[in-house]
Every structure is written in structure tokens, then in C-alpha cells.
Amino acid sequence: MRRLGYSVTLLLVCAVVGSASSAPRPAEPGEELQISDHPAGQYGGTLVVAQRSEPKTLNPVTAADAPSREVIGRLTADLIHINRSSQQTEPALAKLWTLSKDGRIFTIKLRHGLRFSDGQPFDADDVVFSFQLYLDDKINSPQRDLLVVGGKPIEVHKIDQYTVRFTLAQPYAAAQRIFDSLAMMPRHLLQNSYQQGKFTQAWTLTTSPAEMAGMGPFRVKQYVPGQKIVLERNPYYWKADRSHHRLPYLDQLTFLFVGNEDAQVIRFQAGETDIISRMSAESYALLSQQASSRGTELFDLGPSLEYNFLVFNLNDLSSKKLAGIAAKQAWFQDLKFRQAISAAIDRDAIVKLVYAGRGAALWGNVSPSNKFWVDQSLPHPPRSLEKARELLKAAGFSWRGDALLDPRGQAVEFSIIASSSNTQRTKMAVLIQDDLSKLGMNVHVAPLEFRDVVNRVFQTYDYEVSIMGLGGGDADPNPEMNVWLSSGGTHLWHLGEVKPATDWEAQIDQLMQKQMVTLKYKDRKHLYDQVQEIIAANVPYVFLATPDVMVGAKKSLANFKPAILDSNTLWNVDELYYWGPASSSGARP
């Protein structure tokens, strides 16, 4: 009996300590909280989300994969933030910023009195330290490219405890957007490991939560390998609602790792998760059958910013032992051949059969939902096998029986690789195979493991044609620089070009560089339209289609405002709360 009493007391103590540590702190004098204007909610509850895979790291500077970035985004905050709903920038940790007349000097004023999730103060030293990490070429952060303007890294200077100055080598269009998603890092926790050169090994999934801290609405509570990561409220978070209650409302945020989309759908259907992000149209149709009786609501937000495309291997293969592929490059290099393939592909069928009608066909790299930047005058030629045959004939191809022969009499045969875990891309490959067989091309579909596809496309160049998808991050053209600059790291059709291989690539280089330093939207749009036209005319990628962004959430979740930009559903997780008596989900294990 005594032992039982003892353990009950112990439990109570634990409960009290546990809740006290993450209960929202009242605002301190001198603390400049950001006041959100959303309808005020109530505290409590756990939000459960299922992710397809486990994050690889919790280190914001080195993370490159989507699952990691999704979790890290809830743990950290940036100086200037892009509002996912309005797609415009807004103040975050910086309360205001000024740009010098020549567009090169950026002065940022930080909010006073903010604290990291471990209670330590945040100031200009942390900002300078964070940029030191992002710009260090030994760490090689994926964000580094964006911070190198005109060939020179941005210079960061501390003016006083709450003021930081950024100097750019040349004017930079929409410069405030580059601060988005650059997480501010705690100098007091990481300086030692950085000085010892061990920064890239810091903040893994198994790092103790006490050694990590961020400025985000949540902080790490527990990680269960292979199962879940549990985040708890950051009691020092720097935002409050209209009634000056510190955000976030939710006590906890749990990410489950479930493996694939089907498992996400089943968990959501069973009510085990509260939100489902980026599902396919089939899942959408399936879930919408019982949506209202299960108390869930589904949203189709329209075409995403992602673009799926066919890329031909035009890499320089002279140093590789890939003679078979090199021989086929003669076809891929022929503009008419690429145009013929583009003309023969039935994009409407892709939208209809792969995206079940919930998507949009693409003829360029900018999605129709990117209203600010899409070139409306880009032609949308309908599918035409006759036109494709004419183009092939003009390029010297001929037919023997049904089979297409190249000018040297070789039968046209190649394989398309696609990630086998992405059923949508393998489906596209099967449709394209059938479309091209009508031109007499013998096309093989080779579904490969995702990592194998990436390795072949980026490293070994051991492929002929691949289906890939890019984009979806930001609506602005600047993050697209690395795709279209001939020296860019995602210039997939021809990686590692020392100088532009063709005139039109040189032209794109010029236009992209120019739009980057042009400050007026109208002039930039004009330049970017030209880029889109050159791309569409030269078909380095055969653009296919983009899926709609479809998400779902429990109706009991308030302030849910899904957006087409990443992260679609959790970007305003600090404002989410449950209607009614503090949520049934709190009782869940």
C-alpha cells in the first residue's frame, strides 16, 4: 500500500514537473512578442501527423530531405518569413528591415528580449553565428547557393545587440525572400562543436533534447527510432494571439513515421492522425467518401508549384564508360526529336489517369497556379502524332514496318527510369511508353529505387531518359536559378557545364542573372517570361503535369489554413487549436 502511494506521488510529481516545464510563459517586460491577428483559440491537445519517412537529421543547416525539413521547420524560426498563404514576406524574428537605395545593404532590427526554447536569450550574435554556419563551405549547406550573390557570399555584421547588417555584392531582387527558412541557431549550444569542426555531426535524431534549442513553436521531447518524434510546446515562443496569450495552443505535436502514402491514408481514415498532407487524387476520392461522417474535411487547393518532366541525358559522357548511352545522345541532342516526343505525349491522359483529373498539364516550368510568374502567352499545343511524325521525318528518321529508324538506320530504343516508390511517375512512364510506341519507338520502363534514380541522374549519368519532379518550394524565380543556370547544381540535362553548351543556354544564363539583380517586378517578369519561352522552345525538359495540392484535416481543428507552398498544412501550426472541450486527441497514447 505504501509503495503504491509512493509511486502515485511520484507520478503526480512527474506530471506537474512535465507540464510546468512546457506551459506557456507569461510575457516578460521588454519582450517584443509578435501579435498574430488570427481568431484566438484555447490551449491543449496533441496534433498527430503521419510522415512517409523518418527525418534524417535535426540539423537545420545540413538537412536536405523533405521529412527532415518538415520537422525542423516546427523547431526553428527565421528572420523574415514568407507567409505561405499570401506568398508575401512578413516580419518574423526581425521586427523590421531597411534596404539601402542601391539595393545592396540590408539592415535588420531584431525583436528584443526573445529566448530560445531552452530559455537562453537570442540576439545579434546568434544571427551572425547562424550565417557563419550557412556560409561555411566546409559545412556545405544546401542553402549556401542562395546566399552567394554575384559570386560573393553575403557579408554579415553585428551593429549592436539587436541590429545586423547584411551587405550584398550586387543588388538582389526580392532579397528579403532568401531569409525565409534560414533557421536561427543557438550560439551557446553549438559554438564548441563548430570550433572543433564537428558541426555536421551535431543535432542528430539521437541527440538529447537538452542539447538542442530553437526559436520555433515546438521543441523536441522524445524520439522513438522507426516510430515517431514527439515535440512539445516551446514555452518561450515569440508569438502571441490577440488576447496576448503566448502561442502555440497545442501541447504537443507528434510526427509518426509510417512508410508510405497508403499508410498515411489508413491512419487518417482511422482517426489516428489529425492532418494528411499532399495525398493523391485516388486517396482524396477514397477519403472524401466518408469525410463528413468521420468528421474530417478535405481540401483541393489547385495545381501545385511542382513540375514533373522527362529529362534526356545530354551530359558529357566522354569520361565515362557509357558508349551505349553516348550513341543515343545523337537523338536526344536533336531538337526536332525532343519536340516530336513532346508533341506525341498525351498530357491530358496523364492528368486524367495519373492524377485522376486533379492536376494540370504543363508546357513550361511555371505552374498555372503561380499567378505572379507564369507566362500566360506560352503556347499549349494539343497532342499531335502527325506533327511528331513530321518532325521526325524532317530530322531524317524513317520507318521500317512499325519501327522507327534513325538517320543511320538504327532502331530507336531507350529506357525511361523513374522512382519505383512514386507510383505516379511510374504510371506516367507507362503512358509515355504507349504514346511513343505509336511513333515506332521501343521504350522500356525501368522503375528503380529512388536513391538509385538520384544517383544515376546526378552522379553516374548511367541513364537515357528519366522522369523527375522539381520545384514546389517558393513561387519566386530565384530558387530556380540552380535549375536553369548552366552551372547550376540541378541543371539536370547537362550537369557540370563549364560554359553554356548551346547558345540558348547562354541566353538563359544571361536572362536569369539579369532578373536576379533587377528590382522591379514588372521588369523581372518580362525577363523571366523570356526564359520560359526559350525553355519551351528548346525542350531541354519535356514538361508533363503537376498534381493538385490536396490535404485533409479533422473538422475539430481550428485556424487550419492549408497553402500550396511547403509546408502545406503545418506552416501555421502555432495557430492551430481544437474546438470544444480540450480535444479528444489529448487522451490518445
Partner: protein, 343 residues
């Protein structure tokens, strides 16, 4: 007697199934690779005898499916016009035995109605035709692999049973090694070494070779037992006394005793190997699109929405179950025969 009748029933059933699959081009109403892009996931076409007006037809007819506006991949019958089912109708071109082109199909309906006896898949391809053509791959893989296995099994079994000593020892230890090999993982490993696009024929032959080679151990052990017991029988010893050579004894006295075992093993191995091929194709390691096999047809069930929404996608599994039951009842009947012979 009952065993014999069972054997007959099972054998006739298997024969007709194999016949339909062998002449898939003739039996199937459609080309298995043709995508009817306006008809993804159409449910099986219904055969009617009574029309919308209540009149009874002796010849079955179909109503064509038309897509409904509401819902994803929802269809309803358009009852305006009946399309009767005809025998020996012209249709898409196919090849008999890989070379002779023909156009006549066993049955079909008039355009624009289409006959989808087992519905269609995501690309609007006729499931029924794909099951028949897929059966060619799956069954051929099973039969060929069985032949390979039994050939090696017979060879190794005879050698180790007849010659004994170190040959027996080494052959049987090797057999044990093969018995404990996890064949699925072995196949996965072998498949991953292949280059990107091996042609369908090459993939097929490789699959068959691997499946067949891995499975020789069990028949070899059984055959070794038979050979061992036969070789010490008195009439074998007598013929040896008359100066018969090893080859003669093997051929005349030993091999005939293994036939029963071989037949039973064959009937057991075929379905097992068909399932092996189906497993591999199910995981996407078999033939590539658009060639169907029962495994790749079933692979679409890996998607949850297909699993719960389109029941006709299970049809290849029914074919697989029927083949397995057919072969196993044949094996059962053989076994009973063997036992009654030996008593």
C-alpha cells in the same frame, strides 16, 4: 477408382486452362497492351439476357459502360442499344505461336461496345485478356523452371544414390546448402545485378533459370532414396552379376522407378514456381511493362485505394488459386496412385 476419377477431372480442368492460355490471342477479346484511356477501372461488363424493355434474349448481350460525371472512375450502363455477343468475330491482330498473324477471336461484341469480362486496370487495359496473356508468362515460367529443377534433381539424385561414397556426401551437402538458401532474397540479389534494360525475353529466361536451379535439392534427395533402394534389389544385383554396365542398370532398372516421384514432384513444383514468378513480378522484379504476368497484374493491389475500391483487380489471384488447386489435386492423385502401386 475414385482417385483415378479425381485425376481425370483435375487433368481435364488443367488442360483446358492451359489451352485457353496457350491460345490467349484467340480467346482474349482484346489486345492486352492497348490502353482505352477513356475507360480506367471499368467494372466487369455484365452479360444480360433480359433487356431494359423486359424482353428475353436467347443470345447474351451487353450494354456499354459510360463514365458518370460524379465521382472518380464511376460508370453506368448506357441502355440505349444492346450489343449481342458473337462467336468467331474479327478483332485486333494477334500472333499464333509467335509468327502466324490472325484476327479472329473466339467471342466479342460489336464496336463501340467493348467486352471487359474482368474489368479494366488504371490504363483502361482489359483485365481478362491480360490475365490470359499474363498466364502465358507465369505458367511457362513455372513449367520451364520445373523442368530445369527436375533435370538437375534427377541427375544429382542418380549420381549420389547410385555411385555413393564421396560423390553422395558432397552432392547431399550441396543439396542441404541449397535447401537453406532463402531463394527470394537470392532472386532479388540476382535481379539487382542486371543492367537497366534487359529485354523481356532475357529477364524471363533469367528468372526461370534462377528459380529452376535453386530448387533441385528436394527432388534430388527423393530420387536418391529411390535409387538407393532400387540398386540393392535382388534383380539389379543379378543383372550386375550377368555383367550389366552401370549405364545399362541405370537406364533399365533404376530410372523407371523414379518416374512416379518425378511426376508427383512436377505437379508439386509447377504451382510453387508459378507462385515464385508471381512473387517476383509482384515486387516489380519480373518482366517490365506493358508485358503482363499474374504477379505484375496483382502488383496494382499494393496501392491501398485500388485494394479497397476495385474488387475485379483480384481476378488474377483467382486464376492463380485455380491453377494451384488443379496441380495440387493432380499431385495428390499421383501420390495415391504411387502408394497403391507400392502396396
Amino acid at each position: 477408382m475414385a482417385a483415378r476419377r479425381k485425376l481425370m477431372v483435375a487433368a481435364i480442368f488443367l488442360l483446358s486452362l492451359h489451352g485457353a492460355i496457350l491460345f490467349a490471342g484467340f480467346v482474349a477479346p482484346q489486345d492486352p497492351a492497348v490502353q482505352n484511356r477513356d475507360f480506367p477501372f471499368v467494372p466487369p461488363t455484365r452479360l444480360h439476357f433480359v433487356d431494359a424493355g423486359g424482353r428475353i434474349h436467347l443470345r447474351p448481350f451487353v450494354y456499354p459502360w459510360v463514365a458518370r460525371r460524379d465521382g472518380l472512375y464511376q460508370y453506368e450502363e448506357s441502355r440505349e442499344h444492346e450489343y449481342p455477343l458473337h462467336l468467331f468475330v474479327p478483332g485486333p491482330r494477334y500472333l499464333i505461336a509467335g509468327c502466324l498473324a490472325a484476327h479472329t477471336h473466339l467471342f466479342g461484341v460489336e464496336w463501340p461496345a467493348q467486352l471487359f469480362l474482368a474489368g479494366t486496370d488504371n490504363y483502361g487495359r482489359d483485365q481478362f485478356s491480360r490475365i490470359l496473356f499474363g498466364g502465358q508468362i507465369s505458367l511457362a515460367a513455372g513449367l520451364l523452371a520445373t523442368a530445369i529443377s527436375l533435370f538437375f534433381g534427377l541427375f544429382m539424385g542418380c549420381v549420389s544414390g547410385f555411385y555413393g561414397k564421396w560423390m553422395d556426401e558432397s552432392a547431399m551437402r550441396l543439396a542441404e546448402l541449397f535447401l537453406v538458401l532463402p531463394w527470394l532474397y537470392l532472386l532479388l540479389a540476382v535481379r539487382s545485378f542486371l543492367p537497366l534494360h534487359v529485354s523481356s525475353t532475357q529477364t524471363f529466361l533469367l528468372l526461370v533459370a534462377v528459380i529452376g536451379t535453386v530448387g533441385w535439392a528436394r527432388p534430388a534427395r527423393l530420387i536418391r532414396g529411390v535409387v538407393l533402394s532400387t540398386k540393392s534389389r535382388k534383380y539389379v544385383l543379378a543383372s550386375r552379376g550377368f555383367g550389366a554396365s552401370n549405364a545399362y542398370i541405370l537406364r533399365r532398372h533404376v530410372l523407371p522407378h523414379t518416374y512416379g516421384i518425378l511426376l508427383t514432384q512436377a505437379a508439386l513444383l509447377v504451382p510453387q514456381y508459378v507462385i515464385a514468378e508471381v512473387t517476383l513480378s509482384f515486387f516489380g522484379l519480373g518482366l517490365s511493362e506493358p508485358m503482363p504476368s499474374w504477379g505484375s497484374l496483382l502488383a496494382s493491389l499494393q496501392q491501398y485505394n485500388v485494394l479497397v475500391s476495385y474488387w475485379w483487380m483480384f481476378a488474377p489471384a483467382i486464376a492463380l488459386v485455380l491453377v494451384t488447386i488443379g496441380y495440387l489435386s493432380v499431385a495428390n492423385a499421383f501420390e495415391q496412385q504411387l502408394q497403391s502401386d507400392s502396396i
